[in-house]
């Protein structure tokens, strides 16, 4: 019997090593796998490269990982925000390197890694500072720069429901980078609200097929849901 289910987040991330490249899903707080990140902080892996859209919000998740001093490098599109004080302080202290990637190039580089694409020409960033030092080409009259895939040792993502084969469905805009990162990492670890019986997910509606998923942890329903129905949350 195939089962990718793990007892808890600690078990699911136990083998993440020092110096690992870790993709972390989420756009701001939506889809950020906070329980997996908390387990990673407790596990102690350090010298990490984090690939994510943002570089942490508030004091939880990626921000807490940075504050704990575990992050050497961040690859992201939008580090600076009103509540990115953890990253701001570490960056200004010279403790964290930043590779800034336009959001669409970030997504496509991750997608390319998962899809076995060696590199791709993108129009995004042409004529700007992010194109410096990159191979350029004009194709059918449009200018492009060459971008390479982004791979990871581990992807930590959050989804809504999974079965024991690792098939995933997401919820609303919490999907964001999840399906891309799942395919781009050597080991993909997913936290979900709920694990359902094999066959309970509509095959037509599966967003990430289990082939891209290695481990699944059920962390329980978020406070704004009850039995799968949205019940609201404080503004």
């Amino acid at each position: 019997m195939i089962s990718k289910l793990r007892a808890d987040a600690s078990e699911a991330i136990a083998d993440v090593g020092d110096g690992a490249t870790v993709m972390i899903g989420g756009f701001g707080a939506a889809g950020q796998p906070v329980e997996l990140i908390d387990a990673l902080i407790a596990q102690g892996a350090s010298d990490l490269t984090i690939v994510s859209n943002n570089a942490g919000n508030g004091d939880t998740g990626i921000a807490a990982l940075i504050t704990a001093g575990r992050v050497r490098r961040v690859v992201c599109s939008f580090p600076r925000q009103a509540d990115s004080h953890a990253f701001d302080a570490a960056y200004r202290a010279g403790e964290v390197e930043l590779e800034l990637v336009p959001q669409g190039n970030l997504a496509e580089r991750i997608r390319a890694a998962g899809a076995g694409i060696g590199a791709f020409f993108t129009p995004t960033g042409v004529g700007t500072t992010v194109s410096e030092g990159k191979e350029a080409r004009t194709i059918d009259g449009r200018d492009y720069i060459l971008e390479y895939p982004l791979r990871a040792d581990v992807a930590l993502i959050s989804a809504y429901r999974a079965d024991r084969w690792g098939n995933l469905v997401y919820r609303r805009t919490a999907r964001n980078f999840g399906p891309l990162m799942a395919a781009a990492a050597r080991t993909t670890v997913v936290q979900v609200d709920e694990v359902v019986e094999l066959g309970a997910l509509d095959p037509e509606a599966v967003v990430t097929p289990g082939i891209f998923v290695d481990r699944v942890v059920e962390v329980g329903e978020r406070p704004w849901l009850r039995a799968g129905e949205f019940v609201g949350a404080p503004a």
Binding site: A30, Q81, L100, R172, R175, G232, A233
Partner: protein, 238 residues
């Protein structure tokens, strides 16, 4: 990033009929036709959503993975799984769809998005846009989806005050801030006038309040074509 604070007055330009942000948002909304798929940048451009006429079917795209985005939820009905690119809570309209980030940005690069409206630090005479980074020492750069939007949408419009708080023109011969995109802006809506980017610079298609073309030329230091009497600048252009 918008370069505009929706609540702040512009002290450098006395208001003599110049449009405030909500009025400017309403003016821009008039140029968005039914059926358009539109991305509204973070900040002041989000005001345009509230100015679209009720019943007009315009589909709002948010780059974090949604088409058919609706307005902010009622208090108590904030869904943390449902936010816009500015990470503000939003709602889902009938007909909405969700997708991952690679699809979302493919919609831009692939030429599927009709209009995006962005804020700006500077726009140059050839339509170069600078809106992501001042380049100031110590500033932490953050680009987000701005470069993808700037080169991706079929029509890229800018919504901004004409002048900075220090009175400098945001319309320039050449941008001095780091660029977001090259020759990508087709139209600039400001509090004083509407400008189209044409082959030889900016054309003024509409003046607000008692603003005059001479005054705009003085404020911007640029030669401006007078297109205020022409019908060709009405409606959406790409």
């Amino acid at each position: 990033m918008s370069g505009l604070d929706p609540s702040a007055p512009n002290p450098s330009a006395p208001n003599r009929g110049a449009l405030d942000r909500r009025a400017l948002a309403a003016r821009i909304a008039q140029d968005i036709p039914e059926g358009a798929i539109v991305n509204l940048g973070i900040g002041a451009p989000t005001l345009i959503a509230d100015a679209l006429p009720a019943g007009l079917e315009v589909i709002l795209h948010t780059e974090n993975g949604m088409l058919g985005m609706g307005p902010a939820p009622e208090p108590g009905l904030v869904d943390p799984d449902l936010m816009n690119a500015g990470k503000q809570p939003v709602t889902e309209l009938p007909g909405a769809s969700y997708f991952h980030h690679a699809d979302s940005f493919g919609m831009m690069r692939g030429g599927h998005l009709d209009i995006c409206v962005l804020g700006a630090f500077q726009v140059s005479e050839r339509g170069d846009l600078a809106n992501w980074h001042t380049g100031a020492p110590g500033a932490i750069p953050a680009v987000g989806g701005a470069m993808d939007l700037a080169i991706g949408a079929k029509s890229v419009w800018v919504m901004t005050d004409l002048l900075t708080r220090d009175g400098a023109s945001k319309l320039v011969a050449a941008c001095t801030y780091p660029l977001t995109g090259v020759a990508c802006v087709s139209r600039v809506y400001t509090d004083r006038a509407v400008f189209d980017v044409i082959a030889d610079g900016f054309a003024v298609s509409e003046l607000f309040g008692d603003t005059t073309l001479d005054e705009l030329q003085e404020l911007t230091g640029l030669w401006l074509r007078d297109a205020t009497g022409s019908d060709e600048t009405e409606g959406m252009r790409s």
